[in-house]
Symmetry: C2
Amino acid sequence: MEQMNANPFHGFQLVAVSSSKRMLISTKDTCLKPVAWKDALNASETPVDFSAVQSTLRELAEQGETAVFIDNTSSQAVAEMYPGLLDAGIAVVTPNKKAFSGEVALYQGIVLADAKRGKYLYESTVGAGLPIISTLKDLVETGDKVLKIEGVFSGTMSYIFNNFSAVEGSNESFSSIVKVARAQGYTEPNPADDLNGADVARKLTILARIIPEMKDEQGNFPLLHGYRSVETTSLIQDAPSSAVSNGDEFMKWLPEQDTHFAQMREQAAGEGSVLRYVGVVDVKNKIVKAELAKYPKTHPFATSLGGSDNIIMFHTERYGKRPLIIQGAGAGNDVTAMGVMSDVLKLMRP
Amino acid sequence: MEQMNANPFHGFQLVAVSSSKRMLISTKDTCLKPVAWKDALNASETPVDFSAVQSTLRELAEQGETAVFIDNTSSQAVAEMYPGLLDAGIAVVTPNKKAFSGEVALYQGIVLADAKRGKYLYESTVGAGLPIISTLKDLVETGDKVLKIEGVFSGTMSYIFNNFSAVEGSNESFSSIVKVARAQGYTEPNPADDLNGADVARKLTILARIIPEMKDEQGNFPLLHGYRSVETTSLIQDAPSSAVSNGDEFMKWLPEQDTHFAQMREQAAGEGSVLRYVGVVDVKNKIVKAELAKYPKTHPFATSLGGSDNIIMFHTERYGKRPLIIQGAGAGNDVTAMGVMSDVLKLMRP
């Protein structure tokens, strides 16, 4: 919303704003200004009514306007609305990974090609504001063959292992680093939701489904029914259910794992390597996996990575000898908002 | 053209193909197929007639078709046609740097905003197929503030210094490395045209003009009248004119410089650094420069770079602590064609 305010010349018209409880919606006589939306939304007594939002947007679309539904939730229910919105000529922009990494039926309901349908853009689902999806689509659409995508896709995992297994060595325990990460807001409220690898598996699913070679002759994705099809190494597979369901319980349990992680770190260091939690889409061998792997200390995942950066390498026929690499902050409010906003701007360009 | 052939489903219609001498043009009764264009063009007896091409494209544009003029030359004369083409509603896609890095008047004649004009895309002028210009535009248009752009923008310079001043040390003479680069086709026919830094200065001009803070209140670019305004360190400033104008003469002269370059390499190594020919757009200090600089052996320009890679770092308010980095092959036929082709596809999306 700040980015909308900063760019009034783009000529947006805000039709509705909704939280999970309340909403603001424009009428024939009133319009919404993005400036004071937060207070106004908190004061609103209008309950959420997506069908009203949809019919307002549909009217605009029918008048030839670019009507955009922006889903900034991580809700499955909202994701399931996309096919209906698109059919009504309403465009969808979202950082919500659910629709693109979940059941293949929903995904196929979205990507159905029909010129009359609304368009959908979801750049910010992978790497936030980094141009990952657009670059992959450019490669594919201009006829390059993707051989392998390999990267650090989780800002949280990046932060944790850049600190836990630094090139110059490190002694801190795994749980103490996770504790700092949690305190600084780099993790989900329960770090279990990062350390189980599901976020990386979702991002891999999103990318792999863009690659034609991952499709079979029937247009299905044999390896990508949903993100659960990704071979995913959970870092907390031994966690008791009380820890998986409660962040504070989880933090109490985690130190039990410190010896295990320290051993892995030591073994890697003995081989001149560091630990990184990576995602791989190996197109040639048809393997999609999220795992904790060892990389030599001279590898870009070791030398070049810091903070909570994402780094993604595209190995393709054209970028054969040396991959195309994109790196930078892959999480955070403003860079995610940038990904959303630049998608919206792409839809609005005449 | 190969990329067009590989993607027949994109629904292109080839209207005309031209070399500097001959052309092929479709008529009401005939169409052109991109498959056998090379032989057909060589056999053509039709002299080049851009006004015929332009009027054919204008007709298509007037019928509401997306008419695209692709300039794959490096010609100033062709670049000067862009404003007229755009005014006729014809889009322009090009890897030709001339129009965007030359006299500011031509540039301003191109960027004039008018919804009825054709659009122009020039991604491949910087970094070939790498998403450099689109990323910079996304940053700027979503309201981020660019603080500094810093990078290795020349594939030729990258190859030469990655080998001449490697992290692990190197002993080869400067001229011998240039000789190999020339033999492998990594340089212009006369390497003087790479080593004078003008190519980097042009790319910096193109990028810097996209940054609003580089503009004054009158919409002019005080530091960017043209690429000659860039503070450019030529690596061959002592070359006699006979060497500057003739590649073979240049290669005979170059060994005279070997001691000079070896000294610089030794000095850098003594400081734990390597030499890289970089371009910098320092927005805060309003400095645009292309120079041979020293970078610590731990810097990504040292550790991460190889081959003839480009690497570009965007330091912005949002990507504050750690820059957004894009890296990969920045020259070569197929990656340049990819940049052109993805621009064309962007114009054709409904």
